[in-house]
């Protein structure tokens, strides 16, 4: 049989499966709406899964649908969640009376002219000549990112982590010195220092320094191995969830 015929046969099978599914699920749940919903979700799930075998038209369909729907979803959320309450309502409170009455009677806040201006400036890219002015908006964004993150990372990732690492190397408990506790603390101490040595840019990894960097890499490898192993179970539960949907909610094989 030539490949084209096979493709058409598969298409007919899939199509009839969808129709049958809608019919039976509607019958089972007593609502056509449910039938359509459950079937759509189930077949989209199968279409995506088919990618694991290889790329195919069904995956392409699901993928393209996903892109369109999700792009519009986030745009809508941006419009109703940010644009209207945080810009329009802030500048012209009266204009949102019809949609967000709670915000309509507040005083306008002129600070929000800044993002309005920058937003419009960014859109100047669409004009063939004034495109360069959009750089102003980009400059503002990059400045904001740099300024905010500098202190944020300094606080949470630098200062706090140094603080956490200051531990006594000898772990004294009421019962005397705990071997495991002390060993763990020494491990953390050495591990953090060697890890930092590994990240040094201005010194060649040679001699004692090289040895420390080597230990640093090994500690990082332990970290990565542990991180990987730890996440596996959660990932499988996601699959189990999808399978429960297919075999339970859709086919009704799992009660």
């Amino acid at each position: 049989m030539n490949p084209k015929t096979i493709k058409w046969i598969i298409f007919v099978i899939v199509l009839s499966a969808i129709v049958l599914s809608v019919y039976f699920v509607s019958l089972d749940r007593g609502s056509f709406r449910d039938g359509v919903f459950v079937t759509t979700a189930a077949f989209l799930t199968l279409f995506i899964m088919s990618f694991l075998y290889k790329d195919n038209p069904y995956y392409k369909f699901a993928e393209h649908l996903f892109v369109g729907v999700s792009a519009a979803y986030w745009m809508t959320m941006g419009f109703w969640g940010t644009m209207v309450p945080n810009l329009v309502a802030k500048l012209w409170p009266g204009s949102v009376r019809g949609v967000l009455p709670a915000l309509a009677d507040k005083d306008p806040s002129l600070w929000f002219l800044i993002p309005l201006f920058l937003g419009i400036v960014l859109l100047m890219r669409l004009s063939p000549k004034g495109g360069w002015i959009s750089r102003w908006a980009l400059a503002f964004i990059v400045g904001t990112t740099a300024g905010l993150n500098l202190i944020r990372y300094l606080r949470s990732d630098f200062i706090q982590q140094v603080n956490n690492t200051i531990l006594p190397l000898v772990d004294k408990t009421e019962a005397g010195i705990s071997f495991w506790g002390s060993f763990s603390n020494i491990f953390i101490f050495v591990g953090v220092l060697c890890g930092l040595v590994y990240f040094f840019f201005s010194k060649e990894h040679k001699g004692f320094f090289g040895g420390a960097a080597r230990i640093g890499i090994l500690v990082l490898m332990l970290t990565f191995g542990a991180g990987f192993g730890y996440t596996v179970m959660a990932r499988i539960s996601l699959l189990a969830g999808r399978m429960t949907y297919l075999f339970g909610d859709w086919l009704g094989l799992i009660k």
Partner: protein, 298 residues
């Protein structure tokens, strides 16, 4: 792998790089078969799970339990079993159940849970008298901070638009402080941590949680001083289900135990992955041994 290499390579070398689709099939089977067979193991509840169970179990009938749905569809496979079993337990103990969400995505999940668990399994539970769905409100931790003192400032209606004043179950509630227990489902932001910091601690209200396995370690430090108990991922759900099943065998004989079933699936898949790792390494070393032998002979 290029074709010419494929042809020359021996069986051992090829086994080292088996088509990953075989792995996919094994993983799929490892998950599907236990689920279809409904296999389940009894799980011994860990202290942190038992603590939450005991808290709910010891609450007198009519006590008020707030369940906050702070998760979305992507983590629902992990969280939903915990929601279901705790809701069932609460209804069995005749608690008044208040449902709400600080995540926008939680709203449809509350409706779904009510339709799929509460209404069919507890037909005596009457909306407005035994339970209420307050729905989602924006504001993240800010919302929690407000309702810890004054519920009505944020909630003038329930999720269906009914005036709060007309709902009998809301008559005795003016703030979160009137709740006897808050359980937040979901480990993201805002979630259990925010409930503890902005409701539990300042209001002196017991807070429990149920979250994904990945976020559980970050929440352990709050137990037992600031948090009643915690269910972490499918394992937490399985332990709770198993314990409820043991304690109330009649009431729970026929209810589904997705957590316990998924736990078996997870375990089998886990073992399959480990077997593949072992297999890959054995093939690798056998191949290397053979290769070394060949070079020595030459």
């Amino acid at each position: 792998m290029p074709d010419d290499v494929k042809n020359k390579a021996g069986l051992l070398e090829r086994l080292q790089f088996i088509d990953r689709r075989y792995i996919f099939i094994f993983i799929a089977l490892a998950v599907i078969i236990p689920l279809l067979l409904g296999l389940r193991f009894e799980e011994e509840p860990s202290p942190i799970v038992l603590a939450l169970y005991d808290k709910i179990d010891e609450m007198p009938p009519g006590s008020r339990l707030l369940m906050s749905f702070d998760y979305g569809p992507t983590t629902a496979p992990e969280i939903q079993p915990m929601v279901d079993v705790i809701l069932r337990h609460a209804c069995l103990k005749d608690l008044k159940v208040y449902l709400m969400a600080v995540w926008a995505t939680g709203q449809s999940l509350t409706v779904q849970t009510v339709e799929q668990v509460l209404m069919p399994e507890f037909p005596d539970y009457e909306y407005g008298i035994d339970y209420v769905n307050l729905g989602y409100k924006a504001g993240n931790q800010g919302l929690i901070r407000v309702i810890v003192d004054d519920m009505k400032r944020m909630y003038s209606t329930d999720a269906n638009g009914t005036d709060i004043e007309e709902i009998p179950i809301m008559k005795q509630v003016s703030s979160l402080k009137d709740m006897d227990l808050i359980v937040s489902f979901g480990g993201g932001f805002p979630g259990i941590k925010e409930w503890i910091l902005f409701a539990g601690d300042p209001g002196g209200i017991p807070v429990g949680g149920a979250c994904t396995a990945v976020s559980a370690p970050q929440l352990y430090p709050y137990y037992p001083n600031q948090m009643v108990g915690l269910l972490g991922g499918i394992k937490g759900a399985a332990e709770y289900e198993s314990h409820v099943l043991n304690t109330y065998p009649e009431a729970f004989a026929k209810t589904p135990t997705p957590g316990m079933n998924m736990m078996v699936a997870q375990m089998v898949a886990h073992i399959v992955i480990m077997l593949f790792i072992v297999f890959g390494n054995v093939m690798y070393f056998m191949y290397r041994g053979k290769e070394r032998k060949l070079t020595l002979e030459k």
